[in-house]
């Protein structure tokens, strides 16, 4: 076997082109004759569409068309978009029309699209389209939306409640009746966005000669997109090719299918010219899906030793105006609460509510940060009330490694019982505590306090269901050039998918990593595909790469043995050569073998030889792969300004066997940055009319280089026994417990004042308000 790639810090194959400015993002693709689109969007959160007057727009030189719903082809004109994730708790699918029909239900909902020679002209013309609206009452806050007499999010709704469901196991009443202590928390997590630095983008071109519609989209899920386009455009799948070229970050919102991905292809078909649409940042704030936005009322029951007996409560989830991905966010949240702890009984009643805001769908973490926040805030509360160290409180409640596989008692969102496959949660926490010098923190805290500085420490544990199915595919094919072609339905928005899969294939096939020619995110390259979400690609595509690579290895060895007249056991594959260990060590290159594998025209293949050196594997995991981790964070709070500085951040992370530590560390570090944003900065603010107020990076703050320390990351590897690579996902664990740990640390820093926090984002204003209410400033000024 060739160079050892699996587990090595292999430098990324993606980097050189991106560093030289030779990336190929959607807006970098220039097609002759391309036209440019700008959408006309609703300025109101809820309104009836009266009329659309396009006359002033159409007379502008360079304008080719203004397309509203009635100008669209069937079935997309009259049918709403398909819902991808049905759930029995949802009575009726709730998705939008690609262009509004009769009613708009959130600010930014697309109403019409202008197609012009340039984006500049398209924007002029969009401003000249006159839309008459009959403004209706809107509902902004999901708690208000449940109230009797609340305005309806859609005029034809009987109720704004989309779904209610209960996740439960054990005897919850007995758990609470027998408890030594019961503590309650009211928790609020506000919504933020994915905020990839590349906005969404679509370019569509129809080739009349082949009747193939090619769509380049900045998406995480090109194969799903192709299905949606086929449904909405009424075309066969085979006449649509969707390509996700270089994509500038995903983080979840690019996993769902958007109206623009149907409208732009429809415009290209209608006009017979390529059409390009590049979302601007304001549109991204208005129309790209968001997440968090949950209100929790939860209680924990513990015995006298702080052992958890039960957790119960209610969760209200804001779905926004539609539910393109059903109820998976609150479902995942509800299933994530017990986490790494033995919780004897559990019951959570969830209400999913529609509001006149842009829909919520997964953003890095996908419901889990909220659940972990709830559970960890409850744990901190127990520790505080019982005067126990926070780590000790958790230590007493961990599921032990010898209890693996551990059946929680719920059904996870993959449809399978929630069974943790593996993990060592106590070891994870101990590793993180040691790296963070947790033991000596109280001394550091006292010393800081003596100088008038408020520092605090917080921790958060989590278990995350990753690597969700249904499957992902990888094709491996040896080319006559001697290189190895790899195609996958997995996609790449920065995760290093190309590098990771190349490591696996190169090691199996026995070629140089630089001799792999990979096609990623192209429906033309592999028949089936799913895409990037739920930290799923290392598990799904990684295992497919392994299986396809192993199969092609077997084919190579068999063919080489026959060609060289030696035994298969004598053949070794290295650097694109099949080398015999026997005799005078004859060898044959992969290129020659690929030609041999094509056979001779008209001549039968030898018995047992397959056509070509090629295999496609679609690995389908039996259930989720449960990764876990512990975060420990030290913060300093400026009591006068409410400013928070993250001083030190430690992560112990178990994503199973690590394929490339360089990449996994990068995923964790990036995830932590997102979590810091959620905890301290990112607040997508709406007014009472559901009008978004934070629609620029000047209003909605992303973490900067001065906000995010370099994390100390440890890998605690417990091998996943359920898949052949032993891997678990790594893309979201950095984000999931971050807010819980940070808010806990802020509370700890301000413990002299006895303030309590149970919300994110925790902005300086909120901290100062809490300190003022606690009388902190009287004490500080007296001091």
């Amino acid at each position: 076997m060739g160079a050892k790639h699996f587990g090595a810090r292999v430098k990324r194959l993606e980097d050189p082109a991106l560093l030289a400015g030779r990336g190929r993002f959607v807006d970098d693709i220039k097609l002759p004759g391309a036209l440019h689109a700008c959408f006309v969007r609703s300025p109101y959160a809820h309104a009836r569409l009266q009329s659309i007057d396009i006359k002033a727009a159409m007379v502008l030189p360079g304008v080719h068309a203004v397309i509203a719903t009635d100008d669209l082809p069937e079935p997309m004109r009259s049918q709403p978009m398909p819902m991808l994730l049905p759930n029995p708790s949802i009575a009726a699918a709730c998705t939008q029309h690609v262009l509004a029909r009769g009613e708009v239900s959130y600010v930014g909902q697309p109403v019409a699209v202008v197609i012009a020679d340039t984006r500049y002209i398209a924007e002029d013309a969009a401003a000249a389209v006159v839309v008459h609206y009959d403004v209706l009452n809107a509902v902004s806050d999901c708690r208000d939306a449940i109230a009797a007499g609340a305005p309806r999010v859609h005029a034809d709704l009987d109720s704004n409640v989309l779904s209610t469901f209960r996740l439960a196991y054990g005897d919850i009443d007995a758990a609470f009746a027998g408890a030594a202590y019961v503590f309650e928390e009211e928790i609020w997590q506000h919504r933020g966005g994915g905020m990839a630095i590349e906005t969404r983008a679509v370019l569509a071109s129809h080739d009349a000669a082949s009747d193939v519609l090619t769509v380049w989209s900045g998406t995480q899920t090109p194969h799903i997109g192709r299905r949606m386009m086929a449904d909405l455009l009424g075309r066969e799948l085979e006449s649509i090719r969707v390509i996700a070229p270089d994509v500038g970050g995903g983080f979840g919102p690019k996993a769902i299918f958007y109206p623009e991905e149907a409208v732009i292809p429809a415009a290209a078909l209608k006009l017979g010219r390529p059409v390009k649409w590049i979302e601007d940042r304001r549109e991204h704030f208005l129309c790209a899906t968001q997440e968090r936005d949950q209100y929790w009322d939860v209680a924990i029951a513990v015995d006298a030793d702080a052992k958890i007996l039960g957790v119960r409560g209610r969760l209200v989830h804001d779905s926004g105006a539609f539910a393109p991905w059903g109820v998976i966010l609150p479902y995942i949240a509800a299933a994530t609460v017990p986490g790494p702890y033995v919780v004897w009984a559990y019951q959570l009643d969830t209400t999913v509510v529609l509001t006149n805001k842009v829909p919520t769908t997964p953003v890095r973490g996908a419901g889990r940060p909220q659940a972990v926040f709830a559970m960890e805030r409850l744990s901190d509360r127990v520790a505080a009330e019982l005067q126990l160290d926070r780590a000790e409180m958790r230590r007493r409640n961990f599921i032990q490694p010898e209890q693996m596989p551990y059946e929680v008692g719920l059904i996870f969102r993959d449809g399978k019982p929630l069974v943790y496959d593996s993990g060592d949660y106590p070891k994870g926490q101990e590793t993180a505590l040691a790296q963070a010098e947790y033991q000596s923190f109280r001394e550091r805290q006292r010393a800081a306090l003596d100088q008038g500085r408020f520092i605090g420490i917080g921790l958060g544990n989590y278990v995350e269901g990753t690597g969700l199915g249904p499957f992902e595919g990888v094709t491996v094919r040896v080319l006559p050039s001697g290189k190895v072609a790899v195609a996958t339905g997995a996609t790449n928005q920065g995760q290093g998918t190309r590098t990771t899969l190349s490591q696996i294939v190169a090691e199996q096939v026995g070629c140089r990593i630089e001799d792999i020619v990979m096609t990623i995110g192209d429906t033309g390259a592999i028949a089936q595909g799913v895409g990037a979400f739920a930290s799923r690609q290392a598990v799904n595509a990684g295992c497919s790469a392994l299986i396809a690579g192993q199969t092609v290895r077997t084919q190579l060895i068999a063919l080489a043995a026959r060609a060289l007249g030696v035994n298969e056991s004598d053949i070794d594959l290295e650097d694109g050569q099949a080398v015999s260990g026997a005799g005078n060590k004859p060898s044959i290159g992969f290129g020659e073998l690929a030609r041999l594998a094509q056979g001779i025209p008209g001549v039968s293949l030898p018995a047992g030889q397959a056509a070509g050196l090629e295999h496609t594997a679609y690995y389908a995991p039996s259930q989720a792969a449960y990764c876990s981790g512990t975060h420990v964070v030290e913060v300093e709070v400026d009591a006068m300004t409410g400013g928070v500085k993250v001083l030190r951040y430690t992560v112990a992370h178990d994503s199973g066997r690590v394929i490339n530590p360089l990449i996994v560390d990068g995923q964790v570090q990036g995830g932590v940055a997102h979590g810091i944003g959620n905890a301290l900065l990112e607040w997508m603010q709406y007014d009472d009319n559901a009008q978004p107020l934070t629609t620029s990076f000047a209003d909605y703050l992303l973490p900067m280089a001065t906000d995010v320390p370099t994390c100390n990351i440890s890998h605690v590897e417990t091998v996943n026994p359920l898949n052949p690579l032993g891997v678990k996902g790594a893309g979201e664990g950095g984000t999931i417990p971050a807010a819980a740990a940070i808010i806990g640390a802020i509370e700890d820093a301000l413990s002299p004042f006895g303030v309590h926090f149970a919300e994110t984002p925790l902005t300086p204003e909120r901290i100062v308000a809490a300190l003022r209410a606690a009388g902190a400033y009287e004490r500080l000024f007296v001091a």
Binding site: K11, R12, E14, D15, P16, L18, L19, A20, G21, R22, G23, F25, D27, D28, K30, Y120, G194, M195, A196, I197, E198, T199, D246, V247, G248, G249, G250, F251, I278, D280, R281, Q493, G494, Q495, G496, L662, I663, D665, G666, Q669, G670, G671, V672, A673, H674, S696, F697, A698, L702, P703, M704, A705, T706, V708, T710, C711, G734
Partner: protein, 161 residues
């Protein structure tokens, strides 16, 4: 729309074009000259993905009109490795995992090129402060900061990479 003749030297090559007055420098570079390495992330001057050097100073190309660059020398990411050989800083980005999706990267490289030119021995804090004008959503900045410090060291050592 009014048009004006504009002469700009980009990455050492002189260009003379007649452009619309309202055409941004970023769109001029990307769509008139085909230099698509310069990216647009917000078009309101915060994210920094569009950062280029104009007469040696970092500039948001989304907030400047092409006609304002008349007579100027502009350096874009494509100009950092003109002969195909990556610069010391670019190589340090590979070695320190300084990029993930790569969309913010051109702006990061330009900002750090200016920093390392003006401050050959930056502290970590100086690197971080220099980067506050560039947003990255993928990396959490650790690899970028490490790459900048690594590149500074290599440049001081004259090892070139």
């Amino acid at each position: 729309m009014s048009k004006q003749p504009t002469r700009v030297t980009v990455n050492g090559k002189a260009h003379a074009r007649i452009v619309e007055s309202r055409l941004t420098l970023a769109d001029f570079l990307r769509h008139e000259l085909g230099l698509t390495g310069t990216h647009l992330g917000c078009e309101h001057g915060v994210c920094g993905a569009c950062t280029v050097l104009v007469d040696g100073r970092t500039t948001r190309s989304c907030l400047m009109f092409a006609v304002q660059a008349n007579g100027s020398e502009v350096t874009t990411v494509e100009g950092l490795a003109p002969d195909g050989e990556l610069s010391v800083l670019q190589q340090a980005f590979i070695d320190n995992h300084g990029l993930q999706c790569g969309f913010c990267t051109p702006g990061m490289l330009i900002t750090l090129t200016e920093l390392l030119r003006d401050t050959p021995e930056p502290s970590e804090q100086e690197v971080r402060e220099a980067l506050t004008g560039n947003l990255c959503r993928c990396t959490g900045y650790a690899g970028i900061v490490a790459a900048a410090l690594d590149a500074a060291q290599r440049l001081r050592n004259g090892s070139g990479g």
